[in-house]
């Protein structure tokens, strides 16, 4: 090794990300309105006062970022040109509207947006010209102060976004597929999503992160979701990044009176992945159902932090979070439920179920109930265990090998969550994925 090489020190993740922020925007970057520039400037200021979270931070206690901090990332230099055929296997049959971003950049040739009175969907630039007031009212509002470092970093980088606005009283006939594809190692992308569902409207949205490579890319996603009074949203979040990649995500949801929100979060990829999901019931009588599944093995780490904020009375929340952990992988679940003073008649139930497939797999699960109202019903439960030997024997007694029996039971454990996805073809696709991952063969 030559001396000169040894003296070169690779910039770590933080330095490389901040260096990218200092770059002037490309000449093709659209001019942004004043409020958006201000929003980004604030975020930039916030980022500069923050440091990368460490295990000394309570919210990151089980999630060391050392492997992430050692990496160096850079902004996209040469965009990857994908042909529609390259992503055909990612299409979801039911979704007629598809908005595709490749390494953080909108890819119109891969997207399919049909004019629809019941839906306005497009990139930030396009939507700024038609929905400026809505964007200004909501962009950056839900994640303010939440998700701290990574969310602020995303906002500081805010150039483009997927924006979906469902006007009041509209009902989407088909799910909308928002597809964020990673194709290059070491590239940092900061996908941004804003979903605004008007009063009494109904929609199903699939937020889908997928890597076409095995590499150490970094996806730093933020989704802001606003559900109007009496509106209903089905939100599927699918994280199928590279197993070497890094995925940090914040999703903040605000629920108006008597609205209903159902999310299914599936985490499959990432060397380190993290989801901060916050749901706030801002008015009376809203309902949320949060279902989650992390299926990891090898040396993966998947962390899910959820925060359900019952800020108003008569709210309901239901949560089922499952982890299937193999190898030396590590799953973290922290489920905070806050019942604020005055949020009477809150009805909340949380369940964390964890399956360890090896003796070195690890789960840290932590329910966190904070109740400041007296007339409420809140339950929670957590289990961590291995496969039931009676179930394994039952299947063996029908001729299945022990391996197949264990795989089938593991698959079934995950299928309970997958079956809650309201899109049939996606359910089938994921069942196949889980089957392949648990059996190691199609």
């Amino acid at each position: 090794m030559s001396t000169s090489t040894a003296m070169v020190t690779e910039p770590g993740a933080l330095d490389s990300l901040l260096a990218a922020l200092a770059l002037p925007p490309g000449s093709s970057a659209p001019t942004q309105p004043h409020w958006l520039k201000a929003l980004r400037a604030q975020a930039l200021e916030r980022v500069s006062t923050l440091t990368l979270p460490s295990t000394h931070d309570e919210a990151w206690r089980f999630t060391p970022l050392a492997a992430f901090a050692r990496q160096s990332f850079h902004p996209l230099r040469t965009p990857t040109t994908l042909q529609p055929d390259d992503i055909a296997h990612l299409h979801i049959a039911e979704a007629t509207t598809r908005l595709v971003f490749v390494d953080g950049v909108h890819a119109p040739q891969l997207s399919s947006v049909k004019p629809d009175a019941a839906l306005a969907v497009g990139t930030l630039a396009a939507m700024l010209s038609t929905h400026a007031a809505t964007l200004q009212a909501h962009l950056g509002q839900q994640v303010a102060g939440h998700g701290a470092f990574f969310a602020a970093l995303n906002t500081a980088f805010l150039q483009d976004a997927a924006v979906l606005v469902v006007p009041p009283d509209s009902s989407l006939g088909a799910p909308v597929h928002l597809l964020f594809i990673s194709t290059q190692p070491e590239v940092a992308s900061h996908p941004r999503l804003l979903l605004v569902v008007g009063a009494a409207a109904k929609a199903t949205v699939i937020e889908d992160y997928v890597a076409l490579i095995e590499g150490t890319n970094f996806t730093n996603a933020v989704a802001e979701v606003v559900v109007g009074a009496n509106a209903q949203l089905e939100h599927v979040r699918l994280q199928r990044e590279s197993k070497q990649g890094f995925h940090m995500a914040s999703c903040a949801v605000s629920l108006a009176a008597a609205s209903r929100y159902h999310s299914v979060n599936i985490a499959l990829g990432g060397q380190i992945s993290r989801l901060d999901l916050k749901v706030t019931q801002t008015f009376d009588g809203s309902e949320c159902t949060l279902d989650g599944l992390a299926l990891i093995d090898g040396e993966q780490l998947a962390d899910t932090h959820t925060f359900i904020d019952h800020a108003k009375p008569h709210g309901t929340s239901r949560q089922l979070h499952k982890c299937i952990v193999g190898g030396t992988a590590h799953a973290v679940f922290n489920g905070q439920v806050m019942v604020r003073p005055g949020a009477q008649k809150t009805d909340s139930a949380q369940s964390s179920r964890n399956l360890l497939l090896s003796s070195r797999a690890q789960v840290d699960t932590q329910p966190q109930l904070e109740i400041f109202a007296d007339d409420v019903k809140c339950t929670h439960g957590a289990t961590v265990g291995q496969l039931d030997s009676d179930e394994v024997f039952y299947l063996q007694s029908r001729g299945l090998s022990e391996r197949v029996a264990r795989n089938l039971l593991t698959y079934a454990f995950g299928a309970e969550v997958i079956n809650r996805i309201p899109v049939a073809s996606l359910r089938q696709q994921l069942e196949q994925t889980v089957l392949e991952q648990t059996t190691g063969q199609p």
């Binding site: 299947l395 007694s397 299945l400 090998s401 022990e402 089938l408 299928a415």
Partner: protein, 263 residues
């Protein structure tokens, strides 16, 4: 049916087994020939169900002595799935519920695994669907049970029918039915028994493990064995079951004890 010169299917000699260090089976002898129907009766705790599970290969039980030959091969050396593929079938007293695994998917997987082992044709989902629906008619089961998860939310009777459905699909040469009559009402008992009788033939054998004589009105045994304290202490014909129904087990245990004392 008892068939003259029928080949021996199962030969159990001096079988001893324990669970968590407690001896349950203490030198059990038992022989089954093709075509025969055997009933094993006995009081609670006599080791009937343990015997059934040991034959199927449940790992919670340790075999501490004796031997078991199935079609002349050492059954105890075989993993549970190999026993199943070789033709041993246990209908569980408490069939396991498996949420998330479709019954139809499970039945086809088991069927194809056993078919492959026997060098027979595996069926695709459509072909299998035809076959399983035909077999379900025998047990008066609604096809909706194919759509549900394995045994999940099934009533006691439905679970037992599902067990016999598996027997009908896997066509074992030795079927061991562990307390299949427990929890069944009279109609379900009739249907399940008819199913079992339909499946019995000159090449296979059935071992009924039961507490009550009631089942034996429907599935008539060629032999009735009484188990006590881990051994078979009396073997007779079907009339022995009636006698047990009338007089209980005490007298027979007392007689066995007396005989043991004399010997």
């Amino acid at each position: 049916m008892i068939i003259e010169n029928s080949p021996t299917l199962l030969e159990v000699r001096g079988l001893c087994a324990s669970v968590n260090g407690t001896d349950i089976l203490k030198g059990l002898n038992f022989t089954v020939k093709r075509g025969e129907v055997h009933a094993i009766m006995g009081p609670n705790g006599s080791g009937k169900s343990t015997f059934a599970k040991v034959l199927a290969g449940h790992t919670a039980y340790q075999v501490t002595g004796g031997e078991v030959l199935f079609e002349g091969k050492n059954l105890l050396e075989m993993a549970p799935e190999l026993r199943a593929r070789a033709g041993v079938f246990l209908a569980f007293q408490y069939p396991i519920e498996i949420p998330g695994v479709g019954n139809s998917q499970f039945l086809r997987l088991a069927y194809n695994t056993v078919q492959a082992e026997r060098g027979k044709e595996e069926l695709d989902p459509l072909e299998f669907d035809d076959l399983v629906r035909e077999k379900m008619k025998l047990l008066e089961m609604s096809p909706e049970f194919l759509e549900r998860s394995v045994n999940e939310g099934f009533s006691g009777g439905e679970k037992k029918r599902n067990e016999i459905l598996q027997m009908a699909l896997l066509e074992p040469s030795l079927a061991i039915l562990d307390e299949t009559d427990s929890g069944l009402d009279i109609d379900a008992l009739r249907v399940v028994s008819q199913g079992v009788n339909h499946l019995a033939n000159k090449d296979n054998a059935i071992v009924l493990v039961t507490h009550y004589q009631r089942l034996l009105n429907y599935i008539v045994p060629d032999f009735v064995h009484v188990m006590s304290a881990g051994r078979i202490i009396r073997t007779g014909g079907k009339e022995l079951a009636l006698e047990l129904e009338e007089r209980g087990y005490d007298w027979i245990e007392a007689e066995a004890e007396a005989a043991g004392a004399v010997a």
